[in-house]
């Protein structure tokens, strides 16, 4: 009997086949799915911001940021038997939810989240097998480490598997 584990905002979780991982309502946030295709260990992070250096006070929630979130996800997956060199990624989200005239940094945060995610994965030499990012709508994702399927659902757009 397999479970679907829910990942909240600024959160990350790992699981093994046959379980799956889901996060709901990705807007400008990015959902990062990692998988070791041999051991079928998988992880999903729901990150909000590109860079942990933006926060200079308080305790750091690693899952909030692309850089620290990916590091922590890998650390947990390796502890569960994943091999870092075998990891593959799929990403979704980073939408621009509202069009606004004139320049507004907040409006570009989705794009910046996607860029930071890609940059971090590239640094770690983790290939991105598929991505469904940008545009102007929210997404719900479900990730299955058994098959590597990344199911993307959006309002009015049905279901898509990448």
């Amino acid at each position: 009997m397999s479970n679907i584990v829910k990942v909240g905002m600024a959160d990350l979780k790992i699981c093994s086949s046959p379980d799956g991982l889901t996060t709901l309502g990705l807007g400008s946030c990015v959902g990062i799915a990692l998988r070791d295709p041999i051991t079928k260990v998988g992880g999903l992070a729901h990150i909000m911001l590109p860079d942990s250096s933006l926060v200079t006070h308080g305790t750091l929630n690693k899952a909030k940021f692309a850089d620290t979130g990916i590091d922590e996800l890998i650390r947990q997956m390796v502890a569960k038997g994943a091999v870092k060199e075998r990891l593959k990624a799929k990403i979704a989200g980073g939408a621009m939810m509202f069009q606004i005239q004139g320049k507004n940094d907040l409006m570009q945060v989705g794009e910046r989240n996607v860029e930071a995610t890609k940059k971090k994965l590239q640094q770690l030499r983790i290939p991105i097998l598929a991505n469904d990012t940008g545009k102007n709508y929210g997404r719900t994702v479900i990730f299955y480490p058994e098959s590597g399927d990344f199911v993307i659902k959006a309002v009015g757009k049905g279901e898509n598997i990448i």
Partner: protein, 208 residues
């Protein structure tokens, strides 16, 4: 980067926001009543600092379809303002504005309905900003409104990310307003970091 943290926000700031929320909501209901040509009343707005997950639960979950209207804010302060409303409440308001003209089926909205809703969001947000401007004596100019119909979680990610730099909670003003039908509207003022102190200073609030 300032040391301002929303999690430590003082009671005074919350009281100030309640005050603005009250006056702003009052102005908004007057404006809405004029627009709809019928009386719209509201309960005392609740101002709360909440976790993202709590806000989503209040709206019916991260996947609950909501209408979100967003306005950028410029002038003496910069930032943004967002108004969210449930689909049923929106349909009810729109039907009054459209005065019998047909709308789209079910939870869908046609162009005219979206346009009407954008205007409602504009009026309501404008009323709040007016009250903020009057209380603070600051010049505050909203941008034209932008609207989306999407999952609550996705819409809320926008203010959550902005608040996320400061802490892990959202400052939410919830307005229940009603004519024959009870409607729920949610409201968030999201000043840019630098603008927090501008707002508080202008109100004579000293941060501890």
């Amino acid at each position: 980067m300032s040391d301002f943290s929303l999690d430590n926000v003082s009671n005074t700031y919350m009281d100030v926001l309640r005050e603005i929320g009250n006056i702003g909501a009052g102005n908004a209901m007057t404006a809405l009543s004029l627009m709809l040509q019928c009386r719209v009343d509201m309960r005392v707005p609740q101002v709360r600092l909440l976790d993202f997950s709590e806000v989503c639960s209040m709206m019916g979950g991260e996947e609950q379809i909501m209408i979100g209207v967003f306005l950028g804010v410029e002038g003496d302060i910069t930032g943004s303002i967002m108004f969210l409303i449930e689909v049923n409440s929106a349909k009810h308001l729109i039907s009054k504005i459209m005065m019998g003209m047909a709308g789209a089926e079910g939870d869908e909205f046609n162009e005219m309905e979206l346009s009407a809703m954008r205007e409602v969001g504009n009026i309501i947000s404008g009323a709040y900003l007016n009250s903020l401007s009057m209380l603070t004596n600051l010049k505050i100019y909203p941008s034209p409104p932008s609207l989306t119909v999407d999952m609550a979680g996705a819409i809320l990610s926008v203010p959550a990310i902005e608040f996320g730099i400061l802490g892990d909670k959202l400052l939410l003003i919830q307005s229940q307003f009603y004519d024959e039908v009870e409607m729920n509207g949610y409201f968030m003022l999201v000043p840019d970091l630098e603008s927090y102190s501008t707002i508080l200073n202008s109100l004579g609030v000293v941060l501890s």
